[in-house]
């Protein structure tokens, strides 16, 4: 049996006590994390933890309770709590209760074993790698401080549902990188390096964290001498990192069906409409090999699958939990994820990508008389209800007569996401994953995003 024996039976007890649905999700995590600040070890943690959450649906109302100890007593107490919570909710649950779209209950165990298991590499070697990252980051003449970090986590999830599903799945994630700050004549500039993915240390090979730190340090040196941008509307070439963040933040969130139902998405009621350039395809795919946001099952036990959100510019699908799928009459597509055992599943993205086209990078620059090349992001904000965004680029360059020109600093890209997707007039063939990241929506989950270089006519560029 793949599910913890003292907890598995809770789902049947819940059904006997009146729950129309119940699941128990058990999570085991083993992790290592290291942080080096200016050459000195600041943090070394190795730990293991386990916990579970039990979720019940009673008369259309949800109750959820969790604990970080495993065993029959903790399980019984949590189930009692979840049942009383669901019953308490009934007083204010309004008319329509929650329903779940049907899925075929599976009995399966899927463990994605890493090729190079981090547990087989001594922690001393991981620390030595960070020292190399630090040295590479320090190669820049004006680098003032470097904080480098490494983390791996091996996770196993077990899920039993009152419908008969008995699932277990496992995966390992690694990530390594550095935060680099440079200073020169009173100016400062910073960059992040970060590589990683689902898998083992093989995810730190292309590029290696050392190579990525060298790239980031070179960018810090450029930024220290970079010029301020001129604001206005102009053609922009957007790199795979920023393309990924744009499709995740400005488009992907608006495809989350819980936001659609809450009236917080500008994409509500627009399925089937041509909203972007015919060159644009956007998908969310948790099955991408090695990508940071990949998983074999979502946290409701629905088998992971690719979701085509936009096909040739037409909005084709949202991302669903079983509940949002039932409400919107869609098929469940495995989009419910929980941060940890103590969190209930929410509708979330996995790896959100803009599909590749047929142009080379040089072809994208060709024909731009005056424009901008923007790379990476320093964060920003989106309004999914209005569909507007503003992102600070990590780096930018002038484009003049089809050639890259001077480096620019503090560049912001802003506007309406649908205008931006409509204005895509060329798509590169160099699609790749962007940096691994975490998405916060009350809960934090690992995500990937990316795409190719993309050219956008009439982008709105500002200073920060």
């Amino acid at each position: 049996m793949p599910v913890h024996e003292a907890l598995e039976g809770l789902v049947d007890r819940a059904a006997r006590e009146g729950a129309s649905y119940a699941d128990v999700r058990v999570l085991y995590v083993e992790m290592t994390s290291l942080e080096l600040k200016d050459g000195e070890l600041k943090q070394a943690i190795q730990g293991a933890e386990a916990g579970f959450g039990v979720r019940v649906l009673v008369d259309g109302c949800w109750g959820f309770a969790s604990a970080n100890e495993l065993g029959a007593a903790a399980g019984a107490a949590a189930l009692d709590a979840a049942m009383s919570m669901a019953r308490a909710s009934r007083a204010r649950s309004g008319g329509e209760g929650a329903r779940l779209a049907e899925v075929r209950p599976e009995v399966a165990e899927v463990v994605w074993e890493p090729k190079r298991d981090p547990r087989d590499t001594p922690i001393e070697d991981k620390l030595a790698m960070l020292r190399e990252v630090e040295a590479a980051a320090r190669a820049g003449e004006h680098v003032a401080t470097v904080t480098s970090s490494y983390a791996d986590a091996r996770k196993r999830v077990e899920l039993a549902t009152s419908e008969g599903a008995r699932l277990a799945w496992g995966l390992t994630r690694v990530v390594a990188g550095a935060s680099i700050v440079g200073r020169k004549e009173g100016r400062s500039a910073s960059m992040y390096a970060r590589v990683g993915g689902v898998g083992g240390l093989e995810r730190l090979e292309h590029p290696t964290p050392v190579e990525d730190a060298a790239r980031a340090t070179a960018a810090v040196e450029r930024l220290l001498d970079a010029a301020a941008p001129s604001a206005g509307r102009m053609p922009a070439v957007i790199d795979p990192d920023l393309t990924g963040v744009l499709v995740h933040e400005a488009f992907g969130h608006a495809c989350e069906a819980d936001l659609v139902l809450a009236g917080e998405s500008m994409l509500a009621d627009r399925l089937g409409e041509p909203l972007g350039s015919p060159l644009v395809g956007i998908y969310d795919d948790p099955t991408l090999d090695g990508s940071f946001g990949s998983f074999p099952f979502d946290d409701e036990g629905v088998r992971a699958r690719r979701k085509d959100l936009m096909v040739r510019g037409v909005l084709t699908s949202f991302i669903h939990s079983r509940e949002t799928a039932a409400r919107l009459g869609a098929a469940p597509n495995g989009g419910a994820r929980a941060q940890d055992h103590a969190s209930r599943p929410l509708v979330r993205m996995s790896n959100t990508m803009l599909g590749g086209g047929d142009r080379s990078f040089e072809e994208l620059l060709e024909g731009i008389k005056e424009g901008i090349y923007v790379k990476g992001t320093r964060g920003g904000q989106v309004d999914t209800a209005k569909g507007t965004f503003q992102f600070g680029a990590e780096e930018a360059f002038e484009v003049r007569d089809g050639e890259l020109g001077r480096p620019l600093r503090d560049v912001a890209l802003m506007g309406s996401i649908l205008d931006t997707l409509r204005n895509v007039d060329a798509v590169g063939k160099d699609a790749r994953n962007g940096s691994p990241g975490y998405c916060g929506k009350g809960q934090h989950v690992p995500v990937g995003d990316g795409g190719p270089h993309v050219r956008v006519l009439d982008a709105v560029v500002g200073g920060m």
Partner: protein, 461 residues
């Protein structure tokens, strides 16, 4: 709520863990044991959609051997021995810093208002009823107001620190929060957000719902701001708190200051704010969201003055950063400031309740009357993108109100606000209304501020 292990039980867990680590070869050992339990009610589109709860507990263990520090944690008390072995093994990787775990002793302050038995006794049904009152109150303000998100949560917790160096202290507390995010689709679409946190059962869920709805009603019919440029802003406590959290908070951490990452590096003794502005961190504040008599490594807490009469007086240190830079700990150790269970993290210096004080002009209206041309700002988006090493910020505000010659005109469409918090602190016009504790949610820090007015913000319509 199911009671979590209490302070005395956690103290004995911590003492056991210390003994286990010493028996396995640690020269010094310290254990931080914590436990908590909570209930939360989620509201979406006026309905209670989920009621959740949980209990968590664990132990974080620090050991010193050969002058080297090691750390490990365990959530299962049965695995303390293996955590101790892991901490000892990891200590070999650490530099020999000559660090000693902090010694016990000192007087712990008495702080009132941190534990409310009414929260400890709260059942899920009571929390659901409060969430219902929140929704009803919003509807009573305007039938079209929809509470799209928010809810009520309440929790209780306890923590204990014991060490081989004589530390032995335990604390407990309660807290609760109500939040309402309201959308009103009437003549136009407008939003309102209100939140209230307290250590006691005195959170008024109805008032939260009503205030969010009223904000949305008032924000109907926004028109564009005709002219931007440099002007004054009067910021709501929660808005100025968000900006301060991303700028001043990282700047007053001792390690950042010593490493040259802080905007205030090397500026101790210099003027960094107007002469009538003071900032301090006060974990001893009665009823403070982050108050407690001991910090997370067991040191007695105290009020730390950071900016006094506009002059920078100091930074915050835990024992390790204090040792590293040859200063004294300010009793500011916080575990898990980045989020997550405290026992899983080593202590770092961080703010608890950060108080900003400037001359009060009276109520909010009195403060507004001091402004010739400016904006009243309820919300800011994107404060986390501020640059902590320069204090530059660029945020947007979705429902600013225009101020002309001391009068509030109507609500305006969203604007961008750009400025520098250093310049803002030097141009504070004053404050209005009573200070309010802003914290909770994703934020670890609590910022205590009234409405704050300052000039010199660049506004772009």
């Amino acid at each position: 709520m199911r009671a979590p292990p209490g302070p005395q039980e956690l103290l004995s867990r911590a003492e056991d863990a210390v003994r286990t680590a010493l028996a396995r070869g640690a020269a010094q050992a310290e254990a931080f044991a914590a436990a908590g339990t909570f209930v939360g009610v989620d509201v979406e589109r006026d309905r209670v959609t989920y009621t959740t709860g949980g209990s968590e507990s664990g132990v974080g263990l620090r050991v010193v051997r050969d002058g080297r520090l090691g750390f490990a944690f365990a959530s299962d008390p049965a695995r303390i021995a293996s955590a101790a072995e892991r901490a000892l093994a990891l200590s070999r990787l650490s530099p020999a810093r000559g660090f000693s775990l902090p010694a016990g002793g000192g007087r712990y302050p008495d702080i009132g208002g941190l534990f409310d038995p009414r929260i400890a006794a709260m059942e899920p049904s009571e929390a659901v009823a409060l969430a219902g009152e929140l929704v009803d109150a919003a509807k009573a303000v305007h039938a079209g107001a929809v509470v799209v998100g928010g809810g009520v949560s309440a929790g209780m917790g306890a923590a204990a620190v014991a060490s081989s160096e004589g530390v032995s202290v335990a604390t407990d507390g309660t807290s609760m929060n109500a939040t309402a995010y309201v959308v009103l689709r009437d003549r136009t679409t407008s939003t309102g957000l209100e939140t209230q946190s307290s250590r006691g059962r005195d959170v008024d869920a109805s008032a939260v719902g009503a205030a969010a709805a009223r904000m949305a009603v008032d924000a109907q019919g926004a028109v564009p701001l005709e002219e931007g440029g440099e002007m004054a802003v009067v910021m709501r406590p929660t808005a100025i708190a968000e900006v301060l959290e991303s700028t001043v908070v990282p700047s007053i951490i001792g390690d950042a200051a010593q490493r040259g990452e802080s905007a205030w590096t090397g500026k101790a003794g210099e003027r960094v704010a107007a002469a009538d502005v003071s900032i301090w961190d006060d974990p001893t504040m009665a009823g403070g969201l982050n108050s407690g008599r001991a910090d997370d490594e067991g040191a007695p807490t105290r009020r730390n003055v950071l900016v006094d009469g506009g002059v920078l007086r100091g930074f915050l240190y835990d024992a390790l950063s204090a040792h590293e830079y040859g200063v004294a700990s300010t009793g500011s150790a916080v575990r898990g400031a980045g989020g997550g269970g405290g026992w899983k993290a080593q202590p770092d210096a961080y703010v608890t309740n950060l108080v900003l004080e400037a001359p009060s002009r009276g109520e909010l209206e009195d403060l507004v009357s001091e402004v010739d041309r400016g904006l009243l700002v309820h919300d800011v988006l994107g404060a986390h993108t501020a640059n902590a090493s320069t204090l530059d910020f660029s945020v947007s505000s979705t429902m600013p109100y225009e101020i002309r010659r001391g009068e509030l005109l109507g609500v305006r469409e969203p604007v961008m606000l750009a400025g520098n918090v250093g310049a803002l602190l030097r141009s504070v016009i004053g404050t209005g209304g009573a200070p309010r504790q802003c914290g909770g949610g994703m934020s670890t820090a609590c910022i205590v501020v009234p409405w704050v007015g300052a000039s010199g913000v660049v506004v772009t319509p």
